[in-house]
Symmetry: C2
Subunit: 211 residues, 2 copies
């Protein structure tokens, strides 16, 4: 199993899940500017839109889209309990994966991070984000995780919440989200993934500045 | 099972799946402006963000988020074969549900339809949409469905493609997408859902104009 990733991006959620599962996996870094892998190959041949993550499964298939990859890893390593096994729990997992992917990742953070996005698009995204964080705060109050136990949805959410550090979003306004974020960052699989990807991120930044 | 819907919105995908399954279900219309149901109740009590669809399951739970609801219906009615049963097929279904939800529905159509979205946000969304339609066109060339057979992902995609009619997007530019759209619209479950929701849509428009 091979994960195509960009450091500190949404692909880190899959790395966290692979660490949770103690899975054998290799990690291939995609340069955010050149969209090339370390062997010089054009990543667009793997993913037409140049998006990470992609997962090459052990039978050679290439799977894209975060929610699909996270659930694939959860099914592949059932002992890690990254997804509930009961039908109601699975529905809730899919609900949260979809919420994080559409309402937070795509609708809020993508316009904020896209250097080509107009300022008005960024302001609009921030405004729409308010109600999303309020919903999240209400759900997380008194809870340790999104579901009853740690799941792939938490791996995705902590990854996305990390991004607030480089946006005008201040998590202090949503105390339950803030304490959830701090708690999840301290989880060993998350801390390990973050520390490693920070090193890769800084190296990539240094390469870009040198170029 | 009770589906909260707004006519011709993304909730129509679930209606199509319920028709495919011959499921016993009731449909509760949510007014797009007042966010109230026909009994006068505030829909925000069902869904905090006021978003459709929501599905009230037979045991009374309320499930939100389109990808989660579509997969719930697929699991609940396995004979309708709305989702592949094999692991690789399920991963592909989840990949397409995620792509449609994030890349098309949320990143492209939501800014186009939101009357409060600034013009620049709409232009930005349209530009980003180009590569998404090209990807879809390449995938659908020579194929009847997104997967090997009709699935919940097709119910979602045909619903989203219908929206192009009221945008500057011209499907003629992507012939495989255009012929897929026409083929899917002719499918009995889709045609029935569209005809019924068009009537509801026109009635809602008339109520809004009279108010």
């Amino acid at each position: 199993m091979q994960l195509y990733f960009t450091p500190l991006s949404c692909s880190m959620a899959t790395r966290i899940c692979l660490y949770e599962a103690g899975a054998e996996a290799s990690f291939v870094e995609v340069d955010t500017k050149s969209k090339r892998t370390p062997d010089g190959a054009d990543y667009h041949a793997i993913n037409r839109l140049g998006q990470v993550p992609c997962l090459r499964t052990d039978d050679g298939a290439v799977l894209s889209e975060n929610a699909a990859i996270l659930q694939y890893v959860a099914r592949r390593f059932p002992d890690a309990q990254l997804a509930p096994r009961d039908d109601a729990g699975l529905a809730r997992l899919q609900q949260w994966l979809c919420f994080i992917g559409t309402e937070l990742h795509k609708a809020l953070f993508m316009p904020l991070f896209d250097t080509e996005a107009p300022q008005e698009a960024k302001r609009y995204a921030l405004e729409k984000g308010e109600a999303r964080f309020a919903l999240l705060d209400a759900h997380l109050a008194g809870r340790e995780y999104l579901l009853d136990a740690f799941s792939a949805a938490d791996a995705y959410l902590v990854t996305v919440l990390n991004w607030t550090a480089v946006t005008p979003i201040d998590l202090k306004r949503w105390p339950a989200v803030k304490s959830y974020h701090e708690r999840l960052r301290a989880r060993p699989s998350v801390a390990k993934a973050m520390a490693e990807e920070l090193v890769s991120y800084q190296a990539q930044q240094a390469r870009h500045q040198a170029a």
